[in-house]
Symmetry: C2
Subunit: 228 residues, 2 copies
């Protein structure tokens, strides 16, 4: 891979979904804030990758203090977030050109594997986009108009991040106005008429939302380290 | 609730999906085999419930030995399983009448809450069936003919157990021949022309499939006990 690589790590926007206490991305897993694990994954994948970290303006100083406290030296640029995740991504894209590959990753996914990151960048270079998924292990039904019906679970794809795109494609897609149906970057890109390529993710790539997820993430992290 | 209640706990069939070592349902969570936690949940819900435990014939002695070793005294009947999960459920149903309510539960779901169990039996008494679900917190796509498209995650229902039915309905449904599309009991019942009623499940009701799930289950169990 010779293309220039960037990752926009989205961590909190204006923080309104985070709730009272310390935001999840600043809480500790194995003694280090979640977000530091996340940045470390991308740095370990490629120490030349450009890391743009989008944070709520109100949390930037907290983050800077944490970086000092934890001697965190991985190079990254800090960008204040917007109203919705969509606007935070736009803030990140405003700092990027139309060249190279741009990944967008949830800050609260510290367990993405280096293999998943590599696969996404490599396949996006060829396909224009790469969106990681995992299969679902449980039965699934779809509910419409008060009725539910089973769907073939083999056809279901749970979508994760990083979602990686050729810079010109993602820049074009984010020229659109915000719509509530934009739940992730792939729906934004698709709405702009650009087809999406899916690739294999890793099951451990948990999105930390509940307090217990921090403990589960700690278990998974120890488990990964034992198997390396 | 005055109706007679039965639960068929399906744990392993002929064990062919279990793999080499100790089957997951016999491994320990917080110092006790998974399956004992599962039976305890139903007993704690109602100590008059009839518990039918379907085990691979080859594993019945192991289970009996474990019950002695762990001083496990919750009353239950042991039934040898069949080829597929479908046939194991049939074996259980053969011991039941057409009266009362019958629940069917995965042996490897030891974290079902008593509230979920109660809700399923109560709603099945009124609706004829009750199948617990949880919402999904991640983006979802459906893949067909090599193309994928997003679906509204609000419409997605992840299906769990216990699935509870009026005895006459589930007995009728299981007179059908086995079909590979029968991934759970609700699909069997629906194929017999009987509509399915969904009700709220609990997010912790993990299905233990991977080794790490045992550790996650331990965390969740400790967390539940702390909050009680």
């Amino acid at each position: 891979m010779t293309e220039e690589k960037t990752v926009i790590i989205v961590a909190g926007g204006n923080g309104k979904r985070v709730g009272g206490d310390t935001p999840k991305q600043f809480q500790l897993i194995c003694g280090m804030p979640v977000l530091m694990h996340t940045l470390e994954r991308f740095y370990n994948f490629d120490d030349n990758i450009r890391i743009l970290l989008v944070l709520a303006a109100s949390q930037i100083q907290t983050w800077k203090d944490l970086c000092l406290e934890y001697f965190f030296t991985i190079p990254h640029e800090i960008i204040p977030g917007g109203e919705e995740r969509f606007h935070s991504v736009q803030q990140g894209l405003a700092r990027c050109s139309n060249e190279g590959l741009i990944g967008i990753h949830d800050g609260v996914r510290p367990l993405v594997s280096i293999e998943t990151i590599r696969r996404c960048y490599e396949e996006a270079e060829i396909q224009g986009s790469a969106v990681p998924f995992i299969p679902i292990t449980e039965s699934v039904r779809i509910c419409e108009n008060g009725q539910s019906q089973p769907i073939n679970r083999q056809a279901v794809r749970i979508i994760q991040t990083p979602q990686v795109f050729r810079a010109d494609l993602i820049q074009k897609a984010y020229l659109q106005d915000y719509q509530p149906e934009f739940t992730d970057d792939s729906t934004v890109v698709e709405k702009a008429g650009i087809p999406i390529h899916l690739c294999e993710g890793n099951a451990d790539n948990l999105k930390i939302t509940r307090a217990i997820d921090l403990e589960i993430a700690g278990l998974l992290l120890n488990n990964i380290e034992q198997n390396q």
